[in-house]
């Protein structure tokens, strides 16, 4: 379970998050939506201990990320890009991550097979396409078979088959009682995948509830999103 409690982030005089609170519960897929610059990535980075919060808390199973005893077995995270140095091979990248958690090499081969990178494992990351880089990032996220998955724009750069695969993957994880938090710009995609929805705009939570609750009265998730995040409800100016 992920708990964000009154989280504030300021950079200089700019307020990026103004005291947001929400939860992502076990056994459910939580969609995290917002326009560019709304504060999605900042929230995820604070949750992962990459950025520090000005005030408030971001907890994973009740603990800040940096105090997790076995981070890889608890949280798998995919942020933008591959998160890998371009001069290393895909397998070498996963190998060092596996070492940091004392995972066996056989687990590296397993995740390579899961994301479909077995044949490209000996190539340099610099030669990967956008989609392959994303698959490598996913492989790293799955390495410790974590209880929580945090995925930032996971379908970005993936082909239709990859998108369907991600959808199945997150549904399966939730079905076994794990927690999934995923952000996406693709409303249609999210509507088919998530149980709960959190909408953030200009550093504030503007909607938080089940998919049905958030859509209620708007017809589709896309309509609900525009109604919540734009002053004119997303109507294109004539």
């Amino acid at each position: 379970m992920l708990t964000i409690h009154r989280l504030v982030k300021r950079r200089g005089s700019r307020t990026i998050l103004s005291g947001i609170s929400f939860q992502a519960r076990s056994g459910r897929v939580t969609g995290f939506l917002g326009p560019n610059g709304a504060g999605k990535s900042s929230t995820l980075r604070i949750l992962l201990g990459l950025d520090s919060a000005t005030s408030g808390e971001a907890l994973i199973n009740g603990v800040p990320y940096a105090r997790l005893r076995n981070p890889l077995a608890t949280v798998g995270a995919l942020l933008d890009g591959s998160g890998a140095h371009r001069a290393r091979t895909g397998r070498a990248h996963l190998n060092w991550i596996a070492r940091s958690a004392g995972l066996p090499r056989s687990r590296v081969d397993e995740v390579l097979a899961i994301v479909g990178l077995t044949d490209a494992a000996s190539q340099r990351v610099g030669s990967y396409s956008l989609g392959m880089g994303r698959r490598l990032g996913l492989a790293a996220a799955l390495l410790g078979d974590p209880e929580v998955l945090i995925l930032d724009e996971p379908v970005n750069g993936l082909d239709p088959e990859g998108i369907r695969w991600i959808r199945t993957l997150v549904r399966e994880r939730a079905a076994t009682g794990r927690t999934v938090l995923l952000s996406s710009h693709l409303m249609g995609e999210l509507a088919e995948t998530v149980d709960d929805v959190i909408v953030i705009n200009q550093g504030r939570i503007v909607a938080d509830g089940t998919l049905a609750e958030v859509i209620d009265g708007h017809g589709t998730l896309e309509n609900a999103f525009f109604a919540l995040t734009t002053p004119n409800g997303g109507r294109v100016a004539q």
Binding site: L79, D80, G81, S82, G83, R86, G133
Partner: protein, 254 residues
């Protein structure tokens, strides 16, 4: 030409270039000031031979590190963007879409590098000579008409060294190798100077030949090279390197 203006604005948007400009100004000026202070002490003790013929020029030979940095980063920043964000967008793709002719792109870049280095060299030469004048006062070496070709030599040396760094970086793409080699070779005792102990052919290395344009009293020199000849030798090296770089750059996948 618009391509050159574009390259100039790219250069000035890089932090490293501003650092290079500061280093190019400060290094020779500060060393010249420090050396002048010790020279003044020697003069006070009655040693009037303390002012050497190469005073100021020697110090300017170290300042060339500023020009080296400009030549290296002008190319290397196109290839490797380091930042916390991934993707590390290679600007070269965008650049080559904006200027599809690779030769024109390279020419515009080299011209921008040469222009910035020339201005930097002139400013550094003025500042260095002024620092000596301020510290030594009446004892400072006269600057007369015979100094004009030497000062021009300094500017040529900086521009040619910047282009040398530029050419090597086109070939290596990453800036670290040319930067390390060229900074090491700007050291107090350069590798090429040591090689002259081994073979007099080493006097024809680009840097050893190039400094003849402005250094008049090269320590233990066994080969005399006229300033103009030295300049031409260095120019020939740089021209050959740039031609190779241009051929490789045009044939290579971006």
């Amino acid at each position: 030409m618009r391509a050159i203006t574009a390259e100039l604005s790219k250069l000035f948007s890089l932090l490293s270039v501003w650092v290079a400009l500061a280093i190019g100004m400060i290094v020779p000026t500060a060393i010249a000031a420090l050396n002048s202070v010790s020279t003044r002490k020697e003069i006070a003790l009655g040693d009037h031979t303390a002012v050497g013929i190469d005073m100021g020029y020697q110090e300017l030979a170290f300042g060339v590190i500023g020009a080296i940095i400009i030549g290296v980063v002008a190319i290397s920043h196109e290839y490797f963007a380091e930042s916390g964000e991934s993707g590390g967008g290679r600007q070269i793709t965008t650049s080559l879409i904006a200027i599809p002719s690779r030769l024109r792109f390279l020419f515009a870049k080299a011209t921008a590098v040469a222009m910035v280095s020339a201005v930097l060299a002139s400013a550094a030469a003025i500042a260095t000579m002024a620092a000596i004048r301020i510290v030594l006062g009446e004892h400072a070496p006269e600057i007369g008409s015979e100094d004009v070709p030497r000062l021009a030599g300094i500017v040529c040396y900086w521009v040619l060294t910047a282009l040398l760094a530029f050419g090597i970086t086109v070939l290596t793409r990453h800036g670290i190798v040319p930067l390390a080699i060229l900074i090491v070779n700007t050291s107090v005792v350069t590798v090429t100077y040591l090689l002259t102990r081994l073979t007099s052919l080493a006097y024809y290395f680009p840097d050893m030949a190039g400094i003849r344009m402005f250094i008049r009293n090269l320590e233990d020199s066994t080969v005399e090279i006229a300033p103009l000849v030295g300049g031409l030798v260095m120019t020939a090296w740089v021209a050959a390197l740039l031609i190779i770089a241009a051929i490789v750059f045009c044939r290579r996948d971006a």
